[in-house]
């Protein structure tokens, strides 16, 4: 009757983008006469935060404060095509499309500013606070609010841009499986520390040490939300979740959250997370897709930690107390 501690490891990679590509997303951007830029999308925010990330990408590219950017999504009458939110593709595809659209709009913005200031567009810069100014001459500047008004009423120009990102589709060779499935790969390694109660078979995950390589953390707080929420889901998959507990038997399937178990706030491990950034050449400011990867490494890390703790090798998910106890029984019998 003891609580046995163990530690286990797992390392994984995860592809960005719809498998085999062919999954475009578009973005349109235009300035209103008040100097606010509206990004039109049909992309879906499931909580991962694409609305915020799209605004960050546009603000960075335009060289304007994020307060000057609004995101309008998702209405198929007004937003251009997006393949959807899946396959860790949103930040990569939509981010790239937004950057492309914003770069075009920035070009027009600088052209109009050059006319207003009677200088060469190539000599202009944005200062990140809303001004477009002559390099080296602080006083020769115009604010985006005045510029947007002038563009419309004086110059007859739309400050706007179009963006799309498409990874061309790849067709696998049926004989060999030769294919180009992804745009880039993110990486993760988990060390899990567990405690196994050899009387009840209950496994408790005490600590998770996670290193994630994600290309670029566009918004480090939101990236942390994704990886830590995802690691929680990994723990949940490992220990609890299934709709068919005696698969392949169809019996005993849960119909509610009382039967479909997940770790509650009292059951969560301490998470120690670290980001590494190896920017992807084709990623928006180097970012890779990370939404899906984060649940993956904890599952085998926990399986391996359970073995380390008590010598039971679990080959079937989830790692329920029943399975642990049956494993312990089998060890005693041999």
């Amino acid at each position: 009757m003891a609580k046995l501690r163990g530690r286990g490891y797992a390392s994984v990679n995860y592809p960005t983008g719809m498998n085999l590509g062919g999954d475009p997303s578009q973005a349109l951007i235009h300035a209103t006469t008040t100097g606010t830029f509206v990004i039109s999308l049909s992309s879906v925010d499931l909580g991962q935060g694409i609305k915020t990330i799209a605004a960050q990408c546009a603000a960075e590219t335009l060289g304007l404060p994020i307060e000057n950017v609004l995101v309008d999504t998702a209405d198929t009458d007004t937003g251009p095509h997006c393949m959807g939110t899946f396959a860790s593709r949103g930040t990569h595809r939509v981010g790239n499309a937004v950057i492309m659209a914003a770069a075009e709009a920035r070009g027009v913005m600088l052209e109009v500013a050059a006319e207003e200031l009677e200088v060469d567009a190539a000599d202009l810069e944005t200062d990140g606070t809303g001004f477009i100014r002559l390099k080296g001459a602080q006083e020769k500047a115009i604010h985006i609010t005045d510029l947007a008004l002038a563009a419309h009423f004086k110059h007859g120009r739309t400050i706007s841009g179009r963006g799309i990102y498409l990874k061309e589709p790849s067709a696998p060779v049926p004989e060999t499986g030769e294919m180009d499935p992804d745009s880039c790969q993110a990486h993760a390694c988990t060390a899990a520390v567990v405690e196994v109660d050899d009387e009840t078979g209950v496994v408790e995950v005490l600590e998770l040490y996670n290193a994630y390589e994600i290309g670029r953390a566009l918004n480090p707080a939101m990236a942390t939300q994704q990886v830590e929420g995802g690691a929680w889901m990994g723990v949940s998959h490992a220990l609890f979740e299934t709709t068919e507990p005696y698969y392949p038997s169809r019996d005993h399937g849960p119909h509610d959250f009382a039967g479909y178990l997940m770790p509650g706030p009292a059951d969560i491990p301490v998470q120690h997370s670290l980001f590494l950034e190896r920017p992807a050449g084709n990623g928006p400011y180097g970012a890779k897709g990370i939404g899906e990867m984060t649940a993956n490494a904890p599952i085998p890390a926990i399986a391996n930690a359970i073995f380390d703790a008590c010598g039971v090798r679990l080959e079937s998910m989830p790692f329920t107390p029943e399975r642990v106890l049956r494993g312990l029984d089998a060890l005693r019998d041999t």
Binding site: Y9, S11, N13, Y14, N19, L20, D45, L46, G47, G63, I66, T76, C82, G84, F86, P172, P174, T176, D180, P181, D182, H187, C189, A191, Y209, A211, Y212, E213, G215, R216, A217, L218, N219, P220, A221, T224, Q225, V227, H237, E241, T243, E244, Y247, P248, R250, Y260, S273, L276, E277, P279, G281, Y285, E292, A295, N296, I299, A303, E315, S316, M317
Partner: protein, 471 residues
């Protein structure tokens, strides 16, 4: 600081980080917004309750749809009796397969995957427990439920098959006639294949051969908000669909094909979704709700209850995976053979795609010169499975990384050193014959070891994804 913030290790890949940032920020300078903690633009709406989810749309004269579902795993439908259901006060309409313009579909036809294999509403057969048969449209949710409960269906049971390997055996009950056999066909092959190098030669030459089996069970995405939509007929004859789909145009296009209507007759409004995790990629509520809205000429809401979400909405597939490895005494893996079975359930949905994605992921993030994989997409008489976070990869990683641990233990090697030794690096040719670039497995292993206080010898700490040092 009041929020969780994982630190960024700026020393690893420092040169590449700087090079990628140079010239990308404002006029070649540093980033101003990228890399900063910016507050979520949706947070204020969430904490005030003003964020509008699809179900918060409450048009006047809203009618409600509830489904009568199969009570059998596999059966012929002999008779459907609607008499009692139609007599329930408040029931407006009951839709059957005859009301759906193109009743047969498969969602991936948009990217050229066929055949159509799934009815919107069952015709003469049900292939899984919970398959939709009739849709009851009523004034209230209660009346719709009551109506659905009063539909009488007479079945003739057929033998079901629930196990992937049983399903592939000669003489197994045929699950889905549109495929003609219990597996998806990949360009003439019975599975998605990877053939790279010569595994037979590797097994003959190996110091050790290890083979183990792994199994998972279906997992529900379980978003806090269930799958659903509200369809509102518009003044111009179009339909506005408020939906929690993960993919607006994908849903629109599939729905238009099923309704046999011009694409521009439909409009999807969405984009604010209470969690998806892959569960809202299928197109399962919008088509029938649109038919109902047109038939009743009123707004219609069709939203899954939690029990439907748990047992009827498509889960992450159960997988069975066999891995056989050829390993040398020093821990180098020289060959890997994987046989993977994805339990697609009764219909294809997105499983043919997920199975190919699983194949592309093999043999995991390791440089293994000889790889053989057969990835089967198998039909059984259970709820169709489909996309979920990590589609095709999550369960493979469970198998692959359990396998790595077992090899390390069998050879009495440090589990992280074994991984570092085999980790793929820039320039390695993957099993699907794409040259690896931007790799960082070595570095995440080194950093996780550091975090967890796992000592690695100097030679392993000096390894890198960009060099062959230490190999």
């Amino acid at each position: 600081m009041t929020y969780r913030l994982a630190p960024i290790d700026t020393s690893t890949f420092a040169a590449e980080r700087a090079a990628a940032a140079a010239g990308r920020g404002v006029d070649g300078g540093d980033f101003t917004v990228i890399g900063s903690v910016v507050q979520r633009s949706d947070a204020r709406g969430h904490v005030t309750g003003r964020t509008e989810f699809f179900e918060d749309v409450l048009p006047p004269r809203l009618a409600h749809l509830k489904m009568h579902r199969s009570a059998r795993h596999h059966a012929r439908i002999l008779d459907v009796d609607l008499t009692e259901a139609l007599a329930v006060p408040g029931v407006l309409r009951i839709l059957t397969h005859a009301d759906i313009p193109n009743n047969l579909y498969t969602p991936l036809k948009l990217i050229g995957v066929g055949p159509d294999d799934e009815p919107i509403l069952a015709v003469d057969k049900v292939r899984y427990l919970g398959e939709p048969i009739c849709a009851v449209v009523a004034e209230t949710e209660a009346a719709a439920l009551e109506g659905a409960a009063r539909i009488r269906v007479a079945y003739e049971d057929l033998p079901p098959v629930f196990d992937v390997e049983e399903a592939l055996k000669e003489g197994a009950p045929l699950v889905n006639e549109y495929h003609g056999q219990n597996h998806f066909i990949y360009e003439g092959h019975h599975c998605r294949r990877i053939r790279f190098g010569d595994v037979a030669e590797a097994f003959a030459r190996a110091d050790h051969v290890f083979e183990w089996r792994y199994q998972s069970a279906p997992i529900e995405q379980a978003p806090a908000e269930t799958t659903g939509c509200v369809v509102v007929p518009q003044a111009d004859g179009r339909l506005r669909i408020h939906s929690d789909t993960q993919a607006c145009f994908f849903t629109l296009d599939n729905t238009a094909l099923i309704l046999n209507t011009p694409f521009n007759k439909l409009r999807i409004v969405g984009g604010t979704v209470g969690g998806g995790f892959g569960g809202k990629v299928d197109v399962v509520v919008e088509p029938v709700a649109c038919v109902a809205a047109m038939a009743a000429d009123r707004p219609v809401r069709f939203v899954y209850d939690r029990a439907e979400e748990m047992q009827v909405s498509s889960p992450r597939a159960a997988e069975r995976i066999y891995i056989k490895d050829a390993v040398m005494d020093d821990g180098r893996i020289i060959g890997r053979k994987a046989t993977l079975y994805v339990d697609a359930g009764a219909y294809a949905r997105h499983s043919p795609y997920g199975t190919t994605k699983a194949a592309a992921h093999l043999p995991g993030p390791y440089a293994i010169p000889n790889v053989w994989a057969d990835c089967h997409c198998v039909f059984t008489n259970r709820t169709p499975s489909s996309a979920m976070r990590g589609f095709g990869v999550t369960i493979a990683d469970f198998a692959l990384e359990s396998q790595m641990d077992r090899i390390a233990r069998a050879l009495d090697l440090d589990p992280l050193r074994l991984r570092l030794l085999n980790a793929y690096r820039d320039g390695d040719l993957k099993a699907h014959r794409k040259v690896a670039e931007g790799t960082a497995l070595v570095e995440v292993i080194q950093k996780a070891a550091e975090l967890a206080g796992h000592e690695l010898p100097e030679a392993y700490r000096r390894m890198s994804s960009t060099t062959r040092e230490g190999l």
